[in-house]
Symmetry: C2
C-alpha cells in the first residue's frame, strides 16, 4: 500500500474548494480542512480537479510521434490511406511498441488515464501491432489503462486469414472485437458482421466497429449492426465509432436510427471531425445515448494533426457542435471523461468517495474555461500515485 | 533609424537555413554566413521564419479576455447574441480600449503583426467602441497594424442614425466600411447595400460585409453585393466575411457564385467555423479567389472559444477543409498570412529582400509542422524591432 496523499485546495469538477484524501489508490475522504496526519500533501492551489480523461478512440500502433516530420503521402480515398499505411509501416519502421509507448505517455501527460486503442491486424503485419501495443499496455500498467481492439484495418472478408489472426489476438488478451465499414471496405456486410459478432460471442468480448460510411449506406450498415445486437443480446456492449451517417441531412431518418441505438444501448465514439458530418452530441444526449470521444490517429500516415489532449478534443467537440453555454461545454468534457469511462466499463470511475484516484488537476477558473484554454496539466494521478506533473510524465518516452 | 539586426540560422517559410539582415525596418539581405558588422544578432536556432501573421477578421472591441470567466448567456439565434451583447457591454463594463489592448497584445504574442477589426457602431454605444479601438491602434502603432471596420452590428437600416455614426467614424479614420446580413438582420437588402456602397464611394474606402445568411438567401445577398461592385467599379476592394452560402449543398450554384466572385476580385474571409458550412478553401484557390482568415470574436459574449493564435487558426482551417498534405496545410497558413496581407493591402509584405521586417520565428521542423503543433513563438519582430519573445509581448497588457 502506498502512502496516503492529501490533495489540498482543489475544486472537483469546478465545485467549491476542498481537500481530498487519497488512500490505497482510492478517494478516501472529501472534506475541507483535513489534517495531513502523516499523509504526503499536494497543494492544488484552487485548481479544477477532473477525473482522469478517457481517450476512447485512437490508434496507438501507428503514430509517427517522435520520428521527425514526414509529409503526408496518401491519396484522398479511405482505401488510399489504408494501402499507403501498410506500405509505410515497413518502409519507415513504425515500431508498434515504441510508437505506442510514445503516444500513451503523451496522452498521460495531458491527463488521460485510460485509452481504448484500435490496433491493426492484417495478413501482412500479422499480430506484430497487437504484440507491440500489448507490451506497452503491460509496461505502463499502473500508469494508464490501455484496452486493445483487435482491428481489421485492411478488411476482414476481403483478406482471408484476418479473422483467424483476430481470434488469436482475442485469445491472447485483446479486450475488444473490431470491425470496419462492412460495405465500403469489405463489400460483404453480412459476412463481416456475422464474423465479428461470432468472435464476440465466442470470446465473450465487446465490439467496437469503425463506421465511416455516410448517409444511407451507413444507415444500412448501422441497421445490420442493430439487428445483430438484438439477436445476440449484446445491448450495452457495442460501440459504433465515427457513425458519420448520424450527421446525415435527412434528420428524420437519423432520429429513427437514434431511437434504435437507444433501445439497444449502443455507444457512439466520435472525433468531432470538422470536415465530415458527425453524430450531433446534443441529439444523442437528449436520447440517452452515451457519446465518448477520441483523438483518432495522432500524426500518422493518415494525417498530420493531433496531440492526444482530450481537453483540446473537448474544445473541438464543443466547436463542432456549436456548444457555447457552460453546461454544454461541460457536456463536451463529459464525453471525454465519464462518457469514455462508461464505454470502457472503467470500475470506480468518478470524483466521489470510494472512486479510483485517477485524477487530473488543471489551472482554470471553471470547467468550461479548462476546456477552451486547456493549459498544461498541473498534476496527473493514477491510482493515487503521481504520474505526470506540469505537463510532463515521470516516465520518459523511448 | 534603429540599429541593424542580423537574424542568424533561420529558415524562411521552411527553406534552407540562412541569415537575414534587417535594417531600417526592412529585410536588407538574405544570405548565409553574413558577418554581423556591428548589427545586433539573434540566433534563430534553425527555426522556421514566417512573415507576421495576419488576423484578418476579429472584433477587438468586445473580448472579455482578462475579465474573469463569465458563463455564456445568449440564446441560440444571431439576434439573441446581438441583443445580449448590447446589454452586457454596459452591465459588465466591457471597455473597448482596455479590451482591445488586451486582445491586440495577445495576437501579437502569437505573431500577428496586422489585424483587421470590425468595431460595433450602433445608436446605443455610439462611437465609443470606435474611439476605444482607435486609441489602441494609435497606442500600439509600430507594434501591430490595426485596421478598423465601421461595423453596424445591430443593424443599419433598422436603426436609424447608425449610418450617420458610421459616416463620422469613417471621417475620423475608420479604414473600412462594414455591413451585416442585409436580409437577415436589416430586412432591407437594397437599402443597406446601397447605403454601404454610397459610404464607400464617398469616403474612398473598401468594404467588408459579414454575410452569415445560408444557402439561397446568402446567394441572393451575395449577388446583390456583386451587382454593386460591378456598378461602382469596386473590384479588389470588397471582402465578404463568413460567406457560409459558399458551403451550400448545391455545389453547381456555389460554383456559379464563385465565378462571379473571381470576376469582381472579391476577397473572402473565413473563421473555418466547424459547426457551419464554410467556403471551401481548395475550390476558392482553384478559382484564384483570395481567402483570408481570422479568429472572429475571442472569448466574448458570443462564445467562450478563441485565443488569437493564427497558427492554430491555420490548423482549424486545415482540419475543416480536410487538408492533409504539406502543400495543403501550407495553403491554410498562406490564408492566415499572405491572404490576409492581400486583403488588408499591406505594403511590402513578405520574406524577400526589401520586404517589411514583420516576422515570426517558430520552432518547428517544417511549415506544416508549425501549423499542427503551433508552439509558442520564439520571436516576433515588427518593422525590425523585437515586440514579443517566447510567447510574451514586451509591452504589458492593461
Amino acid at each position: 500500500m502506498s502512502k496516503a496523499l492529501l490533495l489540498q485546495n482543489v475544486r472537483p469538477w469546478g465545485a467549491e474548494a476542498t481537500d481530498m484524501l487519497i488512500r490505497d489508490g482510492r478517494i478516501a475522504r472529501i472534506a475541507q480542512g483535513q489534517a495531513a496526519d502523516g499523509a504526503d500533501t499536494e497543494d492544488g492551489a484552487g485548481a479544477i480537479l477532473l477525473p482522469g480523461l478517457v481517450e476512447a478512440h485512437t490508434h496507438l500502433d501507428k503514430s509517427l510521434w517522435g520520428m521527425g516530420w514526414r509529409p503526408h503521402q496518401a491519396g484522398p480515398r479511405l482505401i488510399d490511406k489504408i494501402d499507403t499505411e501498410r506500405r509505410l509501416k515497413t518502409q519507415w519502421n513504425i515500431d508498434p511498441h515504441r510508437q505506442s509507448m510514445r503516444q500513451a505517455l503523451l496522452s498521460l501527460s495531458h491527463g488521460s488515464t485510460a485509452i481504448r486503442s484500435h490496433v491493426d491486424i492484417d495478413t501482412e503485419i500479422g499480430l506484430a501491432g497487437f504484440e507491440g501495443v500489448a507490451q506497452t499496455r503491460d509496461t505502463l500498467k499502473g500508469q494508464v489503462d490501455i484496452e486493445i481492439v483487435a482491428f481489421p484495418q485492411s478488411g476482414m472478408m476481403s483478406r482471408p486469414g484476418t479473422a483467424e489472426l483476430m481470434e488469436t489476438a482475442l485469445a491472447n488478451g485483446a479486450e475488444v472485437v473490431g470491425g470496419l465499414d462492412p460495405c465500403g471496405i469489405d463489400r460483404d456486410p453480412k459476412g463481416q458482421l456475422d464474423a465479428v459478432f461470432a468472435l464476440a460471442e465466442k470470446h465473450g468480448k465487446p465490439i467496437d466497429i469503425h463506421l465511416h460510411e455516410p448517409d444511407e449506406l451507413g444507415a444500412f450498415s448501422m441497421e445490420m449492426i442493430l439487428d445483430r445486437i438484438r439477436a445476440h443480446g449484446m445491448q450495452g456492449q457495442v460501440t459504433i465509432s465515427h457513425a458519420f451517417c448520424l450527421g446525415m441531412a435527412d434528420r428524420a431518418r437519423a432520429h429513427g436510427l437514434m431511437e434504435r441505438l437507444a433501445e439497444e444501448k449502443v455507444f457512439i465514439a466520435t472525433v468531432a471531425t470538422p470536415s465530415r458530418p458527425v453524430p450531433p452530441a446534443a441529439e444523442l444526449r437528449e436520447r440517452g445515448i452515451t457519446l465518448c470521444a477520441g483523438s483518432d490517429g495522432i500524426r500518422d500516415t493518415w494525417g498530420p494533426y493531433g496531440n492526444a489532449d482530450m481537453l483540446e478534443r473537448a474544445m473541438l467537440l464543443g466547436l463542432r457542435n456549436n456548444f457555447r453555454t457552460d453546461p454544454d461545454v461541460e457536456h463536451a468534457l463529459w464525453c471525454c471523461s465519464y462518457g469514455g469511462a462508461e464505454v470502457m466499463g472503467l470500475e470506480g470511475y468518478g470524483l466521489t468517495e470510494g472512486s479510483a484516484a485517477d485524477l487530473v488537476l488543471v489551472d482554470a477558473e471553471a470547467v468550461a474555461h479548462a476546456v477552451v484554454a486547456h493549459p498544461p496539466r498541473r498534476l496527473v494521478l493514477k491510482g493515487g500515485a503521481v504520474v505526470a506533473r506540469d505537463g510532463q510524465t515521470l516516465t520518459e518516452a523511448p
